[in-house]
């Protein structure tokens, strides 16, 4: 159990740090979606299914979509 949680936290940290360093903003958006997705799994392990549901549907689905729609109107690569 503790190994799985450690793995999830490690993946979340790696994804969160890579969001800052990606020059391709589409990759950054997908990495931030990954953070939310693993956070929702972590909430499930911490016995908070309410929060997990909200995090998965809002954090992983809707916010990612809104960022991608915003990216369509701007540039994809950071200079």
């Amino acid at each position: 159990m503790i190994i799985i949680v450690t793995l999830i936290v490690a993946i979340m940290l790696a994804a969160a740090i890579s969001v800052v360093f990606f020059k391709d903003l589409l990759s950054a958006v997908i990495a931030s979606c990954l953070v939310s997705l693993f956070a929702s799994i972590l909430f499930l392990f911490l016995q908070a299914p309410d929060v997990a549901m909200a995090e998965a549907s809002i954090g992983a689905a809707l916010i990612t979509a809104i960022f991608m729609i915003a990216l369509r109107r701007t540039r994809r690569y950071e200079e």
């Binding site: 309410d50 809104i66 729609i69």
Partner: protein, 231 residues
């Protein structure tokens, strides 16, 4: 010079955060209200999901404020996008049609996700989840249709009417509670029924269904506005 200054600022802020956090005892409760909710939430509100009994029972007025914040945000987004649209002539980019597999998959999954969202907010007082989660799931179903079926659009009038009517249901239920049931806004005036059945917990299911429809139509409207703008 500037980097030295920012380093000093960073150290000061870090020290402040560390000192503030070290004085808070993590993991221990500082008030008895949480234990009260766990002990008597079921008896007071009739909802088996304690989170729901807090969100729509004890703290229902705060939830009305929360819904209002979301409403104002959606209205603001719509107003800003509509103002930008007027002085810019519309050039419609041609959408590439989605592949058959994607199209069929979306059409197959859409009713199932919609059903799941409705289940989550109708059973908000019994199982984990509630109006906000169910509404977000419904909005993600519509988002999937927008991405997969490309040309399909929701009717804006329907979305707005659903939103207004469910908001009205919330407020009217609260005012009825004030007039009939008790001494405060949103007090329960319906029988609490048997614990753990669908028709129980008084006004909680009504309010959660209203919140679910409101959040779902609001977030769908936000997605619709944004996708229309990006075309």
């Amino acid at each position: 010079m500037r980097s030295v200054f920012s380093l000093i600022l960073l150290v000061v802020i870090g020290a402040g955060v560390v000192f503030t956090l070290s004085s808070i005892p993590f993991g221990s409760t500082s008030s008895d209200v949480g234990e009260y909710y766990i002990d008597s939430g079921r008896a007071d509100t009739g909802a088996t999901n304690i989170v729901t009994s807090v969100v729509v029972g004890y703290r229902a007025f705060d939830t009305l404020g929360e819904v209002t914040v979301l409403f104002v945000a959606a209205i603001g987004l719509g107003a800003i996008l509509a103002a930008g649209r007027e002085n810019e002539e519309k050039k419609k980019a041609e959408w590439e049609p989605a592949s058959l597999v994607l199209y069929t998959g979306c059409r197959f999954l859409f009713p199932l996700i919609l059903l799941f969202g409705a289940y989550v907010f109708i059973h908000g007082h019994l199982t984990p989840g509630g109006g906000f989660q169910g509404g977000a799931i419904i909005a993600s179903a519509f988002l999937m249709v927008y991405l997969g079926c490309r040309k399909k659009r929701i009717s804006k009038t329907w979305a707005r009417n659903t939103e207004s009517i469910s908001g009205l249901v919330f407020v009217v239920t609260g005012l009825t509670g004030l007039a009939v049931g008790g001494h405060y806004f949103l007090s329960n005036f319906l029988p609490e029924g048997t614990l753990n059945t669908l028709f129980s917990a008084g006004i909680i299911p009504i309010i959660y269904i209203a919140i679910g429809l409101k959040v779902g139509s609001e977030l769908t409207g936000v997605i619709d506005d944004l996708i229309e703008e990006s075309e």
